[in-house]
């Protein structure tokens, strides 16, 4: 965009002159040129980030509507709206205004439901997006920092959801806050103080809704927005990853340029997501606050659950026993200033599982880099089966999460499958420890088996089921050879081998080096090597491997 060309260019139409005027000052065409030419590979699993983004936009739109009518005050009032079963009931202004949004403001109930469904979809799509990034190894260099930004986004989206869930001040959300209050109070010594500061006195106090409101509509969305901006900026800088395929390598990106094809698609996709959310909001009720009644600390309803993304923490609380082998988990410790309680049966389940999950989440890219000594940039993704140990670790974490998640609905599992609630709890306690281990072993075996199958097919082709009898009487099954593109997918991947510890400059293999070697063995000792060109040749007597060598095959790619 040199100054000379710009000053000499005079558009003919008046619209053209106006746009040119703006462009010369804003530089829009430069930005468009830069971004419009970004290439975005096409695969359905790459679209969950977009789903998250779009549901976030929907949240902003519908949330703004709700703020017009919601009043976060905890002052007492008497309901006088059109929902008969609550007429005259004493309640907080916050609950009253949520009911009014639902029953007396045109389109209010629809917007509430849009907002809540979009919130559930938002966290769900963020999670699936994260799983996709993990299982394909997209977090590897240079994207580790973006993975961390993503991790912060998961936590923020859960926080956004929880603060929003608490706003209507109905019985359900109040029960949820009560649990949070209990968890805060279980923090030794300072817990009670924190709770009193947070609630402005003894639970529930008269401040919490207003404070949560500020967090929910101001602070958390602002930070999410900032994080999304950083996140997407980094996606553009790093360029998107791609699945392995002929002509795709760590130096190019194969796909469509962002504009106009991809941008048009993305715009359309926004409306699809909006449409799905709007349909759910129109046809299915969510969080029917009028059923729960106003918050009152004494009643607790059966079936009180948090929204799904907080469920796993609730599940941990449900699984934790109060006594372990005859020892109570609640202790009263006499201090000089008085007795302090240590309620491990609340503190441990609230902090430990979440602590484990997030620690592993944030450190995993560095952990794997340290073990593999792999300092190269990766822009080509792994198929999950081709990184069996990582995939197995991911599944172990996933099962761990799901056990806790299931525990949050233990009562509904009991009533709907006609089993005893106690048995559900015992089984889930067992699975809490065994589930991840079994998932690890099973996943790793399955991944290796799939690799073996791939190798088999690459070498000998696909079984056709056609049995042919040869002239000399032998029966063979005819195998159909794959075409080069398909075969490339099956052989074009890296399969690292375990690395022994490397002595340092003094010739000593240090302790940490030994640990690294042990982990490397753990990661890579079970491996199925991809079929090599030589093996392929021996396998079916064709010299096809050259055509599928990624290094000299980028005719179809757009390089960056």
């Amino acid at each position: 965009m040199s100054a000379v060309t710009e000053t000499t260019y005079t558009p003919e139409t008046s619209v053209g002159r106006i746009t040119n005027f703006v462009d010369e000052r804003v530089g829009g065409s430069g930005i468009l040129r830069e971004f419009g030419r970004k290439v975005f590979p096409d695969h359905w699993s790459f679209m969950f980030g977009e789903v998250a983004l779009y549901s976030f936009v929907i949240l902003l739109l519908s949330g703004t509507f709700l703020t017009f009518f919601f009043d976060p005050s905890m002052a007492e009032t008497h309901y006088n709206g059109s929902f008969v079963p609550l007429k005259g009931v004493e309640m907080s202004v916050a609950y009253n205004s949520s009911l009014n949004i639902s029953f007396d403001i045109r389109g209010g109930l629809f917007m509430r439901q849009v907002h809540h469904w979009a919130a559930l979809l938002f966290v769900a799509s963020v999670s699936v997006h994260m799983l996709r990034v993990f299982f394909t190894g997209a977090f590897r260099k240079p994207r580790e920092m973006n993975w961390v930004v993503g991790g912060v986004l998961v936590i923020l989206s859960m926080a956004a959801g929880f603060t929003g869930y608490s706003l209507p001040d109905d019985l359900l959300s109040g029960n949820g806050l009560r649990i949070i209050d209990g968890v805060i109070k279980s923090i030794p010594i300072i817990g009670t103080y924190i709770s009193f500061f947070l609630f402005g006195g003894e639970f529930p106090g008269t401040h919490i809704i207003g404070r949560l409101f500020t967090l929910h509509i101001l602070l958390i969305p602002a930070v999410i927005l900032l994080m999304i901006a950083i996140h997407l900026f980094m996606v553009v800088v790093h360029k998107h990853t791609q699945y392995p395929g002929p002509g795709r390598n760590d130096h190019n990106v194969v796909g469509y340029p962002l504009g106009p094809v991809y941008a048009a698609k993305a715009g359309g996709f926004f409306f699809i997501v909006f449409g799905v959310v709007a349909f759910m909001a129109a046809a299915f009720t969510i969080n029917p606050i009028w059923n729960y009644g106003p918050y009152d600390p004494s009643p607790v309803s059966a079936g009180t659950q948090p929204d799904w993304y907080i469920g796993w923490v609730d599940g941990a609380l449900r699984l934790m026993p109060g006594w372990l082998f005859g020892f109570p988990l609640e202790w009263h410790i006499p201090f000089p200033w008085g007795v302090n309680t240590l309620t491990l049966n609340v503190l441990l389940p609230a902090l430990v599982p979440a602590g484990i999950v997030f620690t592993v989440l944030f450190t995993y890219p560095w952990l794997e880099r340290w073990i593999t000594r792999d300092n190269r940039e990766h822009h080509v993704l792994d198929r999950p089966r081709n990184a069996p140990t990582r995939t197995a670790i991911g599944m172990a974490g996933f099962v761990f999460y799901c056990v806790l998640w299931a525990a949050a609905s233990s009562d509904l599992i009991a009533t709907h499958f006609f089993v005893s609630l106690n048995d559900v709890t015992y089984w889930l306690r067992g699975l809490f420890f065994l589930g991840p281990i079994l998932a690890f072993i099973a996943t790793k075996r399955i991944a290796l088996a799939l690799q073996r199958k791939d190798r088999e097919i690459a070498l000998h082709g696909r079984e056709t089921g056609r049995i042919v009898r040869l002239p000399h009487g032998e029966f063979i099954e005819v195998h159909a050879q794959l075409d080069d593109y398909k075969r490339y997918k099956l052989v074009g991947f890296e399969s690292p081998e375990p690395m022994p510890g490397i002595p340092n400059s003094k010739g000593i293999v240090t302790k940490s080096e030994k640990r690294r070697a042990a982990l490397s063995r753990f990661f890579f000792e079970d491996r199925v090597a991809p079929a090599t060109p030589a093996e392929l040749e021996a396998g079916h007597g064709h010299a096809e491997h050259e055509a599928i060598d990624p290094a000299n095959h980028d005719a179809k790619s757009i390089s960056h």
């Binding site: 096409d42 695969h43 699993s45 679209m47 969950f48 008969v84 079963p85 609550l86 005259g88 009931v89 639902s102 029953f103 439901q113 559930l120 979809l121 769900a124 799509s125 699936v128 019985l171 359900l172 469509y256 698609k265 359309g268 996709f269 699809i272 997501v273 799905v276 759910m280 299915f284 009720t285 969510i286 969080n287 029917p288 009028w290 059923n291 729960y292 009644g293 009152d296 004494s298 009643p299 607790v300 309803s301 059966a302 079936g303 009180t304 659950q305 948090p306 929204d307 799904w308 949050a408 609905s409 233990s410 009562d411 509904l412 009991a414 009533t415 006609f418 005893s420 609630l421 106690n422």
Partner: protein, 262 residues
């Protein structure tokens, strides 16, 4: 007066005080409960009802509840449970009980209205107990808002705030209350079937019970203003729905969108 204040410090004074307190509460409780029952037992049954009821009872119930409804190893004594208990248990199909288990469950009703009345008459004749409520108490024309509050405080912990039911320990459960008649709701409260506590008239007044019935009937009739209620099970069904249906549809769209280009 002085003597009394000196004896106050006697070592047995506390014991005497405790005994007095216990007797007082016991006495008040006894008066309160008999009041309840005395008031409850107002319906009159003919001698023929009782006779027919006895026959039905011997044929259908005595194997478990014993002759004279005095109880056996497989069923409790029914002396004093009242007509309301029989009307509820037989009228909802729970009795005669189908099988041993954590709790007797609803099943198709086996006796018609007359037979149920006769069975109730027979059991009521064995000892005073809560009777079948007056029609004016179960008409569902009370105050729904007040009923809602009573329901949330007294019943929601087991039956769920939207009366969708909930789990209790060891396979027991509080059932969903949609479709239960006003009369049976009332009887459930006064007799406390199985794992449900009794809510006598001192706990919840007859008018309060009428309001609860009104509340339950109102929310049942109103349905779900926001669309399909997904079983009214709260966030669990909502979460399942968004993962399976919501995300499922969106994944289908993503696959469709990306398949178009290649």
């Amino acid at each position: 007066m002085k003597a009394l204040s000196q004896k106050r410090r006697h070592p047995l004074a506390a014991l005497v005080l405790l005994l007095m307190g216990l007797m007082l509460t016991g006495g008040v409780y006894a008066v309160a409960t008999t009041l309840n029952q005395a008031k409850a037992d107002t319906t009159t049954y003919s001698a023929n009802d009782i006779k027919e009821g006895n026959k039905l009872f011997i044929a259908n119930c005595a194997t478990c509840h014993g002759m004279g409804a005095s109880g056996s190893a497989s069923g409790p004594s029914l002396v004093g449970v009242g007509a309301a208990a029989v009307d509820f248990q037989v009228g909802t199909g729970r009795m005669p009980m189908q099988m041993q288990g954590p709790q007797a469950q609803r099943k198709p009703v086996q006796f018609d209205a007359t037979q149920t009345k006769q069975l109730a008459a027979y059991v009521a004749s064995l000892g005073a107990g809560p009777s079948v409520p007056d029609a004016s108490l179960v008409d569902g024309k009370g105050n729904a808002a007040n009923g809602g509050e009573l329901f949330r405080v007294n019943c929601a912990m087991c039956h769920n705030a939207a009366a969708a039911g909930g789990a209790l320990t060891r396979g027991k459960f509080a059932p969903a209350l949609a479709g239960v008649s006003g009369q049976h709701i009332y009887e459930a409260m006064v007799t406390g079937p199985q794992n449900m506590p009794v809510f006598n008239d001192a706990n919840i007044t007859p008018n309060g019970k009428r309001d609860i019935i009104t509340f339950l009937k109102t929310i049942e009739a109103d349905g779900s203003p926001g669309g399909n209620d997904l079983g009214a099970l709260g966030p669990v069904s909502e979460g399942l729905f968004v993962w399976i249906a919501g995300l499922g549809v969106i994944i289908a769209f993503t696959i469709w969108l990306t398949s178009r280009s290649s």
